[in-house]
Amino acid sequence: MENEKGLPQLSGIIFEELNELTLADLSHACAVQADCIVELVEEGVIVPIGREPHRWRFSGVHLHRASVALRLQRDLGLNLAGAALALQLLDEVETLRARLKVLGYD
């Protein structure tokens, strides 16, 4: 793969493999109050490692799920339980799509 001359080589991180994010990191990244994240955890939308909120550690996958849940609530007028259900169904669709792909149906 030839490189375009004069352009710096950019390296990024794999977002989903971010880890050790704290409650403060997650609320900051989602631009919401920590309470909103706590609610997501209480609803089981995201399940961090660690017992007490100040010990919670999140990953990039959690961050993505949290932002999707927040966007669904805001854009579709869903309540938290509705957004949680939507996410769960989206996960199932994703799994089924992946299964179809493995079976050779695209």
């Binding site: 375009e4 794999i14 993505h64 966007r71």
Partner: protein
């Protein structure tokens, strides 16, 4: 600029009630929400819908829009009539906090020509404010082999740019990106600071590249695991064999056990996509038959039929 038919975008009649408009918005928003829809134009449709709803749900804006008349066609070249909005007063000096359907603050030129930039972005009213730039998203397809070894890709993305006169044009933006080893389809590479520039002294946003794999002639991928359909001869399956099998990380020798059946799966542990928890590589056996297209082969199949008289391939079906 293009005229936007907000009623058509929302699929409602020009005399639709506010309730009908809200219902149409909710239905279409569920359909085109970029987190829900897989359609490639979902983001665009959702933005358009948000803009249409921002106008039609607001009685003042809707009345002003209606004032343009019903003769305009979607996509038609539009110039706002001089003083067309004289006599209208809009409440507030901007949209304030985005409400439902207003998450996108980049409304079209058409919207801004009618309602002004102050409506399109709540930040315009506070020129001195600093805000982090928006994150940008783009999809990038790589080969499965790239995920095994890591790679460098030169990618060109189209991004809107606003020039000094306020005109928006699409410009190619070329980047050299390192694709980390072990990345999987659906994961995102985050390139810090490569999104939209910040406002004031705000930091630029990030660029997220969503990785997908180009379809491969031989391999299928499920998360970390990679699958290969391996054609084998009937005698290889029945008697067992040592076969050379291609994998994305090179050819390996695989022992097929005697008595293997079609669809049988053999696992090569850790030969899927690499990583802290590497995936596995699965070989799915497909039994292929030599064709009986000459006399000798034909005679051989007849001999087999003779020899396997008690073989009942459909016994399980009761026939």
């Amino acid at each position: 600029m293009e005229f936007k038919d907000y009623y058509k975008i929302m699929g409602v009649a020009r005399d639709a009630t506010q309730d009908e408009i809200k219902r149409a918005y909710r239905q279409l928003a569920r359909k085109y929400h970029p987190d829900v829809s897989k359609s490639p134009d979902a983001e665009l449709r959702f933005k358009e819908l948000g803009e249409a709803y921002a106008v039609l749900k607001d009685l003042e804006k809707r009345a002003a829009y209606d004032q343009l008349g019903s003769n305009w066609k979607s996509g038609q070249d539009f110039r706002p009539p001089p003083d067309w909005n004289a006599g209208f007063e809009f409440s507030g000096d901007g949209r304030g906090a985005p409400g439902e359907g207003e998450s996108a603050n980049d409304f079209s030129d058409f919207f801004e020509s009618i309602f002004g930039r102050g409506f399109a972005s709540g930040t315009q009213a506070h020129a001195a404010s600093h805000r982090r730039g928006q994150d940008h998203h783009a999809a990038v397809s790589i080969d499965l082999e790239d995920a095994y070894t890591g790679a460098t890709r030169t990618i060109t993305l189209q991004r809107p740019e606003v020039d000094a006169t306020g005109h928006v044009s699409m410009r190619g933006h070329t980047l050299n990106v390192t694709i980390p080893r072990g990345i999987r389809a659906g994961q995102h590479i985050r390139l810090a600071g490569q999104g939209a520039p910040g406002i004031g002294q705000g930091k630029p946003g990030d660029l997220y590249l969503e990785i997908g794999f180009n379809p491969h002639a031989h391999y299928r991928v499920d998360q970390r695991d990679v699958y290969l359909d391996l054609p084998v001869a009937p005698w290889e399956a029945a008697l067992g064999a040592k076969l050379n099998v291609p994998t994305p990380s090179g050819i390996v020798e695989l022992k097929i056990p005697a008595g293997s059946v079609a669809g049988g799966k053999l696992r090569l542990k850790g030969r899927g996509i690499p990583g802290n928890t590497p995936g596995d590589f699965y070989v799915v056996l497909q039994i292929v038959l030599p064709s009986a297209d000459d006399e000798k082969a034909n005679a051989f199949y007849l001999y087999m039929a003779e020899q396997f008289k008690t073989f009942k391939p459909r016994a399980g079906l009761g026939v």
